[in-house]
Point group: C2
Chain length 290, copies 2
């Protein structure tokens, strides 16, 4: 159809050759370091392979000045992440983590575990984050008759505090932004109802990890399901490895067997749009900042 | 109100004193050995503290002749068991068991786990058992858009076989009866689709445990969530402890922190009905056998 040939190069590692290659290309599929894009003046379109894009927000002036378009995978991970969140919540209420560990030790406890189990039905749930993941999770929670409160951009602190004080479960799915970074400090964690479950599948920067570890170690919080941490892989000496009732899901929330194929499908569809002069789908709005 | 005083005795152990006591009382709360009730001719009403009552079916002639009424806790465990089942299914699809074990070893795998994860959405599910648990589970599965086939008493073998051959998940919640005992033998387990998840929260007698262990060890089945086994506690040398992708929930499915209180509430309500000449709720129908 007269389309120009595409010259494709693949760089699996972040190294000097990859950085140099960026200076010669127009389209990028993947998540190069944001700083590399500052100098790569020929790049016109970047398809990230993540939903998160906090590390690219610093590019806003360049992206706006240069008309650099960056698309993220908005919505792409909603199903697997929401399923991982519900798996984590139900595992906490039904003792699955403890049972898996007992099985490793070939140890039967049986009946004595039962008084430690609870049901999710009717629980008070706070969903912090107004995006696709919590939309999908809300649907999954309907049969449980939970009382759900949602907060997103523009939340009112007094209302959030009041909801946290009665929540059995808090689910955080917010991106890294100036407003969310460090938001759950010691004071806000202390607002949570005693025995509550803290779930974070957004970004690790949201939470004061030492304060959360303290709240779990002291038994004030009932548990946590943590997919994202300030440093990944989580350092061996990090307190989260050994906090009671904390399940680490190792940033697997979005994973599926067909993940790579589906990502390539999104990229190819957007590449086709880009080459035909159409706007790619899922562009980050640098004016708005998200 | 003129009601006669109630003489209450409590026997925490199955011993001679407890057996002797049965011969003097009219009402029993708990699950005494079925054989004891054969001789305990004064007993008129037994409130079991279980939903299962397979071990009391042999009493049918006595119960019918003597007008002995036995109530089970029908429906009592539907919520916690259905939640444990969904917890087990989602844990399998989202790798929670493997993550819990990695955490024990302080081992980060992260991204390399993602291709092993799947989503429940749209899966083909066979629910074997037409009682309260699968009723509740059906409700919980609605948001996942699964294609659900249900079978219960009077199932047609050819239809069950055909459904098993395309099922991603099989959930068994049937009681121990003459028809279900040993039903899932090697031949029926081989009917299951390769990679399927086998879930049993009914009774252990349903399954040829060696055949199931073989199917897991060979990798033909994708996994299992097993709450009930032919022998409980599960013997230390049992193959299930070490089968790949088998999660043992140690007959905790019905457990909740308020379980005992709720059981006592049911008993007291039925005791009131019994004393006022009303029919207790949840009586086992010995004519029908379930």
């Amino acid at each position: 159809m007269g389309a120009a040939a595409i010259d494709v190069e693949y760089y699996p590692q972040e190294n000097d050759r990859a950085r140099l290659a960026l200076s010669t290309c127009n389209v990028v599929f993947g998540n190069p370091p944001a700083a590399w894009l500052t100098d790569a003046t020929r790049v016109q379109f970047v398809q990230l392979e993540s939903a998160g894009f906090g590390e690219y927000l610093s590019l806003a002036p360049i992206a706006l000045a240069r008309r650099l378009k960056i698309a993220n995978l908005k919505g792409f991970f909603a199903e697997p992440v929401a399923e991982s969140i519900l798996a984590g919540i139900l595992s906490h209420f039904r003792g699955i983590g403890a049972l898996a560990r007992l099985q490793e030790r070939i140890r039967w406890v049986g009946d004595d575990l039962r008084p430690h189990l609870r049901t999710l039905k009717g629980a008070a749930v706070v969903l912090f984050g107004n995006g696709d993941i919590n939309n999908r999770l809300s649907e999954m929670l309907v049969p449980f008759g939970c009382s759900v409160r949602r907060f997103g951009r523009g939340w009112v602190s007094a209302e959030l505090n009041s909801a946290l004080s009665v929540a059995d479960v808090l689910v955080c799915t917010v991106p890294h932004t100036a407003e969310t970074s460090g938001l759950f400090d010691r004071a806000l964690i202390e607002q949570l109802k005693a025995g509550a479950l803290f779930v974070n599948f957004g970004r690790g920067s949201l939470v004061d990890e030492n304060a959360l570890a303290d709240a779990l170690d002291s038994g004030r919080l009932g548990g946590a399901v943590i997919d994202v941490t300030s440093e990944e892989p989580l350092p061996l000496e990090h307190r989260f490895w050994n906090c009671p009732n904390l399940l680490l899901t190792q940033h697997t929330g979005g994973g599926t067997a067909d993940e790579i194929d589906r990502k390539i499908d999104v990229f190819l569809a957007n590449l086709t749009r880009y080459r035909s002069g159409e706007e790619p789908l899922g562009l980050i709005d640098f004016q708005r900042g998200y």
